[in-house]
């Protein structure tokens, strides 16, 4: 009697330990990859950010000089404000447009939604370089499609990427064009809102806009927040588009954070300086990620 009881207690404990050890083997590839390709680079980047390093000569330690110089660097501050412009104006417009489209598509009375969904998702499939080539032509002042369409409406379109004032709005157009992912995530969230809530609101005489304001937006808030944070992180990485389309011009109007970082690293070979930029970016991104994980309790339950 006693023996069996003892065994039944000890056995699960041994099994537990064995299971944990087996799990370590399963996650080992990720652990190795994380240490070698993520954690070590992040930490060594902190060291590089405090050095003067041009790849050819060994890095020389200079303390916080790179960070201090960044604050004095007018071009850096310009890249920061340009990126902020894209986040505040471009991000807001993109989130609103994708919300409008998703809310319309969630209407159960409409048919053929899957076809519209295909149309909205297609642009996200286009390779970045090709999307850029496409939009260089779409945005041509005289022979471009955008200004041709505006011309049909009697509007004379601006010079878009050739103009310092219109180059950022031009890139916002591209950003909106590629918002299919956000629409899909929105629609998955909208499907979780029980239809009965809308029905009872209708009986109370609520119109479309009242329903959106009092039911859809509040219940969709976590999804909107998730989309906003990932969009901000994407804009921080906005790089290929300005590199291919404008090389940061005209007049540095499309010189964004990641592009300036890339230029410092691989065109001016100021690796230490670029690493300092990367670390500031990491802190911004980490703050956003932690906010997201805390707020949404992402991944906490089973």
């Amino acid at each position: 009697m006693n023996m069996t009881r003892k065994n039944s207690i000890r056995k699960p404990m041994r099994a537990e330990k064995k299971e944990a050890l087996t799990a370590m083997v399963f996650i080992a590839p990720w652990v190795v990859g994380f240490l070698v390709f993520t954690l070590y680079p992040i930490l060594s980047s902190l060291y590089y950010s405090m050095t003067n390093y041009n790849v050819l000569n060994p890095p020389s330690f200079i303390g916080f000089e790179n960070y201090i110089n960044l604050l004095k660097d007018k071009v850096y501050l310009k890249s920061l404000t340009n990126t902020l412009y894209m986040i505040v104006i471009g991000g807001t417009i993109t989130i609103i447009v994708s919300l409008i489209v998703s809310i319309i598509m969630d209407n159960r009375k409409l048919r053929g939604i899957s076809l519209f969904r295909v149309f909205f998702f297609m642009p996200t499939l286009v390779p970045t370089v090709i999307a850029c080539v496409l939009w260089i032509w779409m945005l041509q002042p005289t022979t471009g499609v955008v200004n041709t369409l505006l011309g049909y409406l009697g509007i004379t379109g601006p010079g878009w990427i050739a103009s310092p004032t219109w180059s950022k709005p031009a890139m916002i157009l591209m950003m909106i064009w590629a918002c299919g992912n956000i629409i899909i995530v929105n629609m998955a969230g909208l499907q979780d809102i029980p239809q009965s809530m809308y029905e009872s609101a209708s009986i109370d005489g609520a119109n479309f806009f009242q329903k959106v304001r009092t039911i859809t937006i509040p219940l969709l808030r976590p999804v909107i927040l998730y989309n906003s944070v990932t969009l901000i992180i994407n804009i921080l990485q906005w790089f290929a588009e300005p590199l291919i389309m404008t090389e940061g011009g005209p007049d540095s109007s499309t010189l964004f954070y990641s592009l300036y970082l890339y230029q410092n690293a691989f065109q001016f070979f100021k690796m230490g300086y670029a690493s300092a930029m990367a670390w500031i970016m990491l802190i911004i991104a980490l703050a956003l990620i932690i906010f997201l994980l805390k707020f949404l309790k992402f991944g906490e339950s089973e």
Binding site: E19, T22, P29, I42, P127, S258, A265, A274, G299
Partner: protein
Amino acid sequence: MRGVAKLHRKMKRSKLAGNIETAILYLILIAVSILFVIPFLWLLFGSFKEGSELFRAPFRWLPDRIQFDNYKQMFTAIPFLKYLKNTLIIVFFNIVGSTVSSSFVAYGFARLHWPLRNKIFMIVLATMVLPFQVTMIPLFIMYTNWGWIGTFLPLTVTCFFGNPFFIFLFRQFFVGLPKELTYAARVDGANEFRIYSTIIMPLAKPCITTVAIFAFMRTWNDFIGPLVFLADDDLYTLSLAAQLLRSNLDPRWHILLALGVVMVMPVLIVFFLMQKYFIQGVAMSGIKE
């Protein structure tokens, strides 16, 4: 009676209002989707236009005539087949590496219990959205020291260590499989590696398909990875070839547009055939479990 008549009138009016509302919603959707599709049509039409036709004002939608010279010139303007082969090599390793390693790691997070599991999984999720620029420079320096720059290794080896997004997708799928499925096998004394490879993986075909599609798409479309790590133009991918053509002093736009169609087509075809998996994968990325 009067009340009923009033209600009837009210219903009739709301039905009419409903129809108008539906019509307006359709109009908005159609207008927006036309704007979203126009660039595709422009690309397709443009790929048939001659170089001089592109610059001609006023703008015309359709090409003067359908001709395939741009596509033919693509093979001579750049070593197209070589770049296609390079791209496919990287795509192949990414599909194999990502599906095998990410499902393996995900099994440890989904079907086994161990302390700190959820905390560690938070780190996986956090790295999912970590900007590439943060690790780009130290990785470049590290790969330079290892002699990896100018080889495919930076773009192929890393995918064998599990990709955070794919680990997440597999984990969500594995968590959803019933416990009873593996219980019997465990009682029979099968070890976890056997259960993973003979019971779980055969059931995971939909998830494997989703991950394979995403791995294909990400690698096929990737620009910054090859740009930073493939210093040797013998190893260039199609994306880099496009950028090479674009950054010429005299970009041959008409060839570039043909290359654009060739690069967009495979992705669109895979998308149309496998739409369900695409949409599921994207929708899941936003679901907080």
